[in-house]
Structures are given as C-alpha cells and as structure tokens.
C-alpha cells in the first residue's frame, strides 16, 4: 500500500481531531456545558478515518448515536458540532438535534441516528439514488453501525435489498464488542460477523479496526467495488471504545481491566505514530505541528460554542414541515 504524504497527514490529523474532540466534549459534558447525553467514540478513530479517507462530499454516510467520529471524518466543522452538543443556535442543527443527531447534508452526512440500526437503510436509500441516476462511480453509501445493530432486523433487510439490487453500499460494522453493557459474545450468535455476508451473497471482510492502514486498505477495495457497480460489501471492523456507553457510564462495571489495557496498547494513534516514525514517513515535528493545530481548533470550538446564543423559542415550532397550512403551536 502506498499513501501520499497528504493522505498520511490527513489520516493522522483526522484521528487526532476525533480523539481530542471526544476528550474535549467529555470534559465540557462533565462541566455541565452539554445539554444531554453524549456517547464518546475515542478508541475507534481508525474506523471512520480509514473509510472516509476514500470518500468525497458526493458520497453519503449514515451514522449512529456514537457519531462524532463519523462526522469529523466526513469533514464536518468541529465548531458547529461542539455548539450543537451545547445546544446552541449556531450548532450544526440549530441546537435541535444534539449529540445524537448531528447531520450535514452539504457534506454527504445523513445524520447520526439514535435508533440502533435505523440509519442503515438510509445509506442504502442514498445508494439507490446514486444507482437510479447512474452515478454509482461518484456516490456510494456507507452505513456505520455497531455490533449491537447486527441484531436488528432492518439491518439484515438492508443488506438483502442492497445485495439483490447491487447497490453501491459499504456496510461498516464497528464491532466494539459491547452494545451498551451487553457483550457481543453474549448477544451475537457468531464471533465472525463478517461471515454473515455469505448469507447475502456479498463479500464480508474482518478487519483490525485499531489499525488505520488495515481499515484504509479494506475500505479501498469495498469502495472500488461499489463504484464499479459490483455491489455491496460488509466490513467488520474490530475495535474498542475507551469510555463507557455514554458519558456517565463506568465500563469497569462490565469490562475487565486487562481487556481495556490490551486495547490501549494497540491504540490506533500510537500505532500510527510508531509506524510512520519507523518508516521515516513523517517526522515528530510534523506530528507535533498537527497536534498543536488541533489543540487550538478544540479551544476555538469550545469558545465558539460557549459564546454562541441559545435558539429562540420560535425554533420549537419551526422545521416540523416544509409547509403546513395549519400549524399547531401547542394547546395551552
């Protein structure tokens, strides 16, 4: 595998941006500045980064309740994301969606989705639009979902539809091994989720989701297939979330510390740093410059969000319909 210097730079910058966004967002959540629950994805950065590295704004992704990483990898603005989490009017969704519903249709981001598995058919629908218009080569759909979602019927329905209609879809299963507190070994009937692709007649590949280069390589082939009109692929990306299910969840109540330590040792960012250093692909000064710039970006995102106005009360009533001749504004 050969990567351009720019791509290498982008992979590191994106993973580090996700990591620091999650840490910063959590800190703000604990300070009481977020207005609701947040689901951090730190630990899983290699997955959205390695996949979205191949996408443009014309490609579509569907995301999950743990969606900040997908948003960032798809190019969303961290200021507008932080403001959304703080419920501000300048947020990505005017403060009406929150952490679990960040979307940016101008960037090909169909939205984080808080119903487990529910965004998977949306990505299939986006791929259907591409195929309908004969634009598979420039617009594919990527459905991000977790191991928990593999127990949802609609996920299987979506795979069947994409397979029979040969749609340009990548089913990206982020297997972080826990659905809330329930381990995949208990809730999923196989330890090889990728093998389920066989039952839909599509390729299924298990990938080390802690290694951004492995993700990049697997995604490259899946997306090539999709763009070439060869249909969907299921990628199972084995990964780990460092924090609990949501900000206030203590995962030590249901995970063993040796398991956590094992994954911390395989951290995707440290792995990247070791590898590029060994191969002299990037200097420590370059990496540090990226980190410094991200630190500054995070500070700016927090300042921007904290200094942004709250949405006016009228926003309660707007955006329900495009047009509605008889709006109900509440019976009081």
């Amino acid at each position: 595998m050969r990567l351009t210097r720019e791509k290498l730079h982008w992979l590191y910058e994106t993973m580090y941006r996700i990591r620091r966004f999650e840490e910063t967002m959590l800190e703000q959540t604990f300070r009481g500045n977020a207005m609701g629950v947040t689901h951090p994805s730190d630990g899983q950065e290699a997955v959205p980064t390695g996949i979205c590295a191949h996408l443009t704004e014309k490609d579509w992704i569907g995301s999950t309740h743990r969606g900040h990483g997908h948003c960032i990898a798809k190019g969303l603005d961290t200021k507008a994301m932080m403001a959304e989490i703080m419920g501000r009017y300048t947020g990505q969704c005017k403060g009406k969606g929150g952490s679990m519903h960040i979307a940016d249709f101008s960037k090909g981001m169909l939205g984080a989705n808080a119903i487990v598995g529910a965004s998977v058919p949306l990505a299939v629908g986006a791929a259907l639009t591409a195929k309908y218009r004969g634009l598979e080569n420039e617009s594919v759909g990527v459905a991000f979902f977790g191991d928990g979602a593999t127990s949802q019927g609609v996920v299987h329905e979506s795979m069947n539809l994409a397979a029979i209609w040969k749609l340009p879809v990548i089913f990206a299963c982020e297997n972080n091994q826990y659905a809330e507190a329930t381990p995949a070994w208990y809730a999923v009937s196989t330890d090889d989720i990728a093998a389920r692709a066989d039952s839909y007649g599509i390729p299924g590949v298990q990938v080390d989701g802690m290694n951004v280069f492995a993700v990049y390589e697997a995604a490259e082939e899946a997306i090539r297939r999709a763009r070439a009109g060869e249909g969907p692929t299921l990628l199972e990306l084995k990964t780990y979330r460092y924090h609990g299910h949501f900000h206030a969840d203590d995962p030590k109540k249901y995970r063993k510390s040796d398991e956590e330590e094992e994954y911390l040792e395989r951290d995707c960012i440290q792995h990247f740093e070791r590898l590029v250093s060994q191969q002299n692909a990037m200097t420590e000064a370059e990496l540090e410059a990226i980190r410094d710039s991200i630190e500054q970006e995070m500070q700016e995102a927090v300042d921007f969000a904290l200094n942004s106005p709250m949405p006016p009360i009228e926003e309660l009533y707007s955006d329900v319909y495009v047009n509605y001749s008889n709006p109900l504004v509440g019976l009081r």
Binding site: G97, F105, G125, A130, V154, L161, V320, Y321
Partner: protein, 365 residues
C-alpha cells in the same frame, strides 16, 4: 397545463364549496373507478417528474425466469400500479421483497438524497412493520437536523374492513399516523379527491401517507382528465344542511352521505363534512359547520380510543362549545380488533343506520 392552473379546479367545486357529482361540469373528465383514477394519477406523476419512482411488494409482480423481465402479473395489490412497469421499467416501478422496514427506510434515504419515492405498503396494517422508519426517520429528519433537509416521500396503503380480510388486514388506525409531527395524512373518499390528493402528496416536500379504504377502490365517480392538486389540509362539504353536522373521513364520508340522504327522507337536514386530510386537518370547516348546526356526529371506522373522532371532538369542545345544543357524539368501531365473520365485521363498521339512529336520538325524534 401548468400546476398553478391545475391547483384551482374551481369548475369542479361550486361557488358554495359543495362538490356535486353528476352533470354540469365544464371540465373534460371521466366517470371511472377510484382505482383507475389512482393509477392514472401515478402515471401522470411518473411522466411529469423523472425523480418520481414507485416501490413496493408485487407492484409489478413476478419476473420471467428466462428473460428476467417483469411480468406485471399482479400490477400491485388491487391493481393500483397495473400497466406501469411496461411503460416506466423496473427501475421506476421497483418491486420490493417483503421487507417493509427495509424498503421504507431505503425510500427515506432516497428522499433525503433527492428522489421522490412513492411507496406502496399494501395493507394499512403493515404500517407497524415499518413504523420506526416512518416515525424516527421520515417524520423527524427535518426537525432534528435543524431544517437542513426535507423528505418528499409518499406512502399509500389499503385500510378498512368489509372484505373479510380479518384482524391483521383491516385496520383504520389513522390516528397512529396523524399523531406523528412531521408526517401528513390524507384520506380521499372518491375518484375526484384521490386524483387531486395523490398528485398533491407526490408533489409535496413533506412525507405524506395516503390511505385508501378498500371499500372505495371499486367505487365509481367523476374525475377530470387533466392533472390537478387538491390542497392538503382542506376538507369539503358533501351536502349543506342546518340540523346536524356529520363528519366523515375516507369511506365514512360515504356512510355520512348515505345517512344524510336517509335523514332527508325523514325531514332532517344534515350537513356532511368530508375531512379529506387528517394531518393537517381543516379545523375551520368543523367549527364553521358546528356553529351553524349546533349538533355533531363524528363517524370514524377506527377504534375509538385516542382516535381522530376523539381529536375532532376535542377541537369542537375547545372552539365551538358555546354553540353546542347537544353532546358531541362519536360513531366508531368498538374497542376490538376487526372480526372475520361477515355479521360481526358489519357490526364492527359504522353503518348509515348507526348514524341515523344517533342523530334521531340526539334530536329526540
């Protein structure tokens, strides 16, 4: 013909707003079955806009094993889409597996990315199989994403009892859809209204669910040849009267009209309001009529609890209470599933006699 002209079928409605079927139209039209009007309108919209496509189970129905060509063996449940696949091809008349959550979700995704899907959900009961996609994705995307997107999706399905389809194929739970902010619900009652409301639904930028009562599908009536839209959210008078208001929706508008005709023979002058849309719905026409007649009977085939009938009764209590000379009455299905046996099924559904008797009791005659 432009859309602006099409949206004003003034020659079909009389000056008083009463729709009177029969001679006297000055627009060219056809007397045809409800299903023919429906099919013809789908064809109009497929011709008008290349982004419109239809998806559902058996909407063409069957493929030739050798040529892989669609057979149009079914042409959709109740032949709603018959003949369309020959002219528009299997990409635009897209036969789907029995996978309602999957293909409704895919339709939402297609709508979010620029197409205008029309989904045939076959029986209205199957709404529940796809309910999460309707509620959580179709109806909420615009709001929870701060207005940055729209979902121009149309769905339709067949409701109601009367055909021996029993408990799981006879639902009329309109209120389960009307309850959802972000979704629109329309209930045409004849060929003229299904033609105008289906066109309006497909052209509307919000998700719209159009419910076809099975008892209407073979009913015959007049429908203009040219394409036109009826406004979403407006009801109409089927008959003016002074003594009592009968409010119907979908097939119960026909029931109300039959009841009004029977009451007329006994010298009782009932007014009939056909709601046509349940979300948004026409509060003004309800309040206007009740203020005039001072009495109201709401007729709904749905079960009564948390129903549209209850909602209309609440609006009347709120906005026309001082004008009421009698308690608001609801004639609905009982709080039971729809039974199979013909006698039981008939007893489940509101009949004209039930409406007549309710009115006579109310008037003390």
């Amino acid at each position: 013909m432009t859309t602006a002209e099409a949206t004003e079928p003034t020659s079909v409605l009389t000056d008083s707003g009463v729709f009177v079927p029969g001679p006297g139209y000055d627009v060219p039209g056809t007397v045809e079955r409800y299903r023919d009007s429906f099919n013809r309108t789908l064809r109009d919209e497929l011709n008008r806009d290349a982004d419109v496509f239809i998806m559902g189970e058996d909407i063409s129905g069957g493929f030739d094993r050798d040529t892989l060509e669609p057979l149009d063996a079914w042409g959709g449940p109740f032949a709603a889409t018959k003949g369309l696949v020959q002219d528009f091809g299997p990409d635009r008349i897209r036969d789907a597996p029995i996978s309602e959550a999957g293909f409704v979700g895919a339709a939402v995704g297609a709508a979010l990315t620029g197409l205008r899907p029309v989904v045939d959900l076959m029986y209205f009961d199957f709404v529940t199989v796809a309910y999460d996609q309707l509620l959580s994705n179709a109806a909420k995307s615009r709001y929870m994403f701060g207005g940055q997107t729209k979902v121009p999706l149309t769905l339709f399905a067949r409701s109601g009892g009367g055909t021996g389809h029993a408990a799981q194929h006879s639902e009329s739970f309109y209120s389960m859809l009307a309850h959802i902010p972000g979704l629109k619900v329309v209930v045409p009652s004849d060929p003229y209204t299904v033609r105008g409301l289906l066109a309006a639904a497909i052209r509307d930028d919000d998700p719209v669910f159009l419910v076809n009562d099975k008892k209407l599908i073979n009913e015959v009536g007049f429908a203009p040849d040219e394409s036109y839209e009826l406004p979403l959210g407006k009801g109409r008078y089927l008959k003016h009267g002074d003594d009592v208001t009968l409010i119907g929706m979908s097939y119960t508008s026909v029931v109300c009209k039959q009841a009004a005709d029977a009451l007329a023979e006994e010298g009782i002058d009932a007014e009939v309001v056909d709601m046509l849309c349940l979300s948004p719905f026409d509060e003004e026409i309800i309040v206007e009529s009740v203020k005039k007649t001072n009495r109201v009977v709401i007729v709904d085939e749905d079960t009564p609890r948390a129903s549209m009938a209850s909602e209309f009764a609440a609006i009347i209590a709120d906005k026309a209470f001082d004008y009421l000379d009698a308690p608001v009455k609801r004639v609905t299905g009982p709080h039971t599933p729809v039974p199979y046996n013909k006698g039981l099924e008939t007893a489940f559904m509101p009949q004209p006699d039930d409406v007549v008797n309710t009115v006579k009791t109310m008037l003390g005659v």
